[in-house]
Subunit: 402 residues, 2 copies
């Protein structure tokens, strides 16, 4: 109606990048493709029957308060469960009144941390390769990212220590300690202790993001970084443990920081869904429910991880290098013959299989000879077919090169 242009966007939007992964996922949805590209948990793991029973009980027995506005920090029954659950893992008391904030998925906790902690130019340490959703989220607040390399044992804390000794002064260090996205790596016990010591010595805050910890299918659970220092904001979520579509996550941290995150959350969206909080709290606080549920879903992931690893090993031999993950949803592979995996990815879509090239997880966004494969949503049989198609696509990619 008006010829006057719309007002300009805020300057920070120039740093807002759409996720290449989400773009690629849209592409794969529209065709008959076996997708190893997604980051979705297995729909076979969702406890629909239990959710139905609890939802019915909630809406028939608990009265209107379960769909009313509620407190910003979260409904008390959920905060109590989180405090108890996390307290057992951390090996120290977690106060449900002052140390917990329930968030709209753990992604929102990242946004709130960016909002209350990050000034333009502040140094934020991330692992490289890393979870780009975190960079995408923090980028709006203008930090300077410092990429620290990771290996099969997680972030190289020795490299971080060296840079700290040389003057690096980060405000935050972001780490995914269990079954990292994209590498599947688990931060070694000694590195967890080391990272906590560095935080205590240099005064930075650790953001320990733990979306996948509940899906461990091999080896013993390791104490979280939060058990070695109280300079940690620890994030977790029901997304992989129960189902992601409710968007219920939480963060646990020092009272002063939780109080500020709470104020920011109140201004941002008042509170997380009352109904979803009650529903999930009632479900997981049934004695034994979560252990039983984990016992039923973890083997699904183990079987799929092994099926994909076996099929890739058979198909690629030495041409694909990878470590078998101990949990989570991702297998990370290096293809030494390829300088980058972009053409391989395109050829794979032609062959009917999708994955994410390593470049998408590189902090510098430059090409890499790596790839992320998610094994969570396909059956073992589909994963074997997918590996065969990858073999075909790989042959097409290297054809003509010596």
């Amino acid at each position: 109606m008006s010829s006057v242009p719309l007002p300009p966007f805020a300057q920070r939007t120039s740093r807002l990048r759409a996720s290449t992964i989400r773009e690629l996922l849209k592409l794969t949805e529209s065709r008959d493709i076996l997708s190893l590209a997604g980051g979705l948990p297995s729909p076979d793991s969702f406890p629909l029957i239990d959710l139905r029973r609890e939802s019915d009980r909630l809406l028939s027995e608990f009265g209107p308060s379960v769909v009313q506005y509620s407190a910003t920090d979260g409904v008390p029954v959920l905060r109590s469960w989180i405090a108890e659950h996390a307290g057992a893992t951390f090996g120290r008391t977690v106060d449900p009144e002052t140390q917990i904030l329930v968030t709209h998925g753990s992604q929102q906790a990242l946004d709130l941390i960016g909002k209350v902690m990050v000034d333009e130019g502040d140094v934020v340490v991330v692992e490289d390769p890393g979870y780009l959703g975190m960079i995408q989220c923090f980028d709006l607040y203008g930090p300077q990212f410092e990429a620290v390399p990771g290996d099969e044992n997680g972030m190289r804390t020795d490299v971080l220590a060296e840079r700290l000794a040389n003057g690096l002064r980060p405000k935050l260090v972001y780490v995914v300690a269990n079954f990292h996205n994209p590498t599947g790596a688990t931060l070694a016990f000694a590195r967890r202790q080391h990272l906590a010591e560095l935080a205590d010595a240099y005064g930075f805050l650790i953001v320990e993001d733990d979306p996948y910890g509940a899906i461990r299918f091999r080896g013993a659970e390791l104490a979280p970084v939060a058990s070695f220092s109280d300079r940690v904001v620890h994030l977790s979520t029901f997304s992989k443990m129960v189902a992601p579509g409710f968007r219920v996550g939480w963060c646990i941290g020092p009272p002063a920081i939780i109080a500020m995150l709470n104020k920011a959350k109140q201004a941002t969206d008042l509170h997380t869904s009352t109904f979803a909080q009650y529903l999930l709290a009632n479900l997981v606080s049934q004695p034994g429910w979560l252990d039983d549920h984990r016992r039923s879903i973890v083997p699904i992931y183990r079987e799929r991880a092994d099926a994909l690893a076996d099929a890739l090993a058979a198909e690629f031999g030495e041409r694909a290098l990878f470590h078998r993950p101990d949990g989570g949803m991702f297998l990370w592979a290096t293809f030494p013959e390829l300088t980058n995996t972009d053409a391989f990815a395109v050829n794979s879509i032609e062959a009917g299989v999708a994955f994410i090239p390593g470049q998408a997880f590189a902090v510098d966004q430059q090409p890499r000879s790596t790839a992320r494969f998610s094994f969570a949503t396909l059956s073992p049989e589909q994963l074997r077919v997918a590996a065969a198609r990858l073999g075909q696509a790989y042959a097409n990619t290297t054809k003509g090169t010596p």
Copy 2:
């Protein structure tokens, strides 16, 4: 464990104010007080039986995708319903693919708009008195607020026009057109047209927030500002129409702005609850359901608004001046004998009734002789008792003054 202090908060947190209302609400929860202070919809209006039926159907018949991750813009069935519903109200086509973003309550839409539109120092026009949740939310992005007075017909667009003519160049103008919080006022038809013309002439964007429009209990519906200009981001929500505890709202606007809000939402929290979106979409898209539901809940609000207005008129006569609202949840009164209502509010809590002093809604946060009374959550009988207690508290407040 460490004596090193935690890292400092981001500078923007100095602008983060806790809501005095939320603080006051905490106080009233702990005592036997009739509360006119809240902003909660009536729990008697929540369709628990219908929600239970739809939730049961959703979790038994629709498969795991209802609790899986979903697209950032919202689930298609909900976007279709919004497009149809809003299209009918706006009198123009709304494209569900490019003009709608589902948000975690409409409060989140405000945060996302602040994020993508507001640079430090940008001028944002707000009505005075106004919804402080919006100021609290935008404040983090550092705008300069320009307060334009409102009266019983909403924002004084003549005052805005005069300031625009004198050089004011706002980026955004925020308006609650129906049953304003706190004043209960409805923006007059001619002012809606006028505001749209001003936006088209001066190039600013209108943010039209409409949480209460569905609760009209007197008079004919007025066309939204969005029907007179496409330079409008129109916010709405299920919070008062169905129930707030699901946190499902939405915004409708120009495709370029919705696309940027979508990118920001993806970085912020990926998407709104899949389950809640399906649940509410299935409920409201049943033919006739929403009309029937509104016919059943609107009389609750009308009866309560009238009960409070009658009781205040009987109790206070000329000492309290107010307009009877045509909808919504709030009655706004001026007490000409009082220079401010703070002591009156304290005495009221002593007498067993709570309300919010006008100061809490003043952009300059200075004392006012006004007060906001919510009639939504008390029965007519309770409202009459509340008015009597207010009379008692008022007498105690003015006792000793000539």
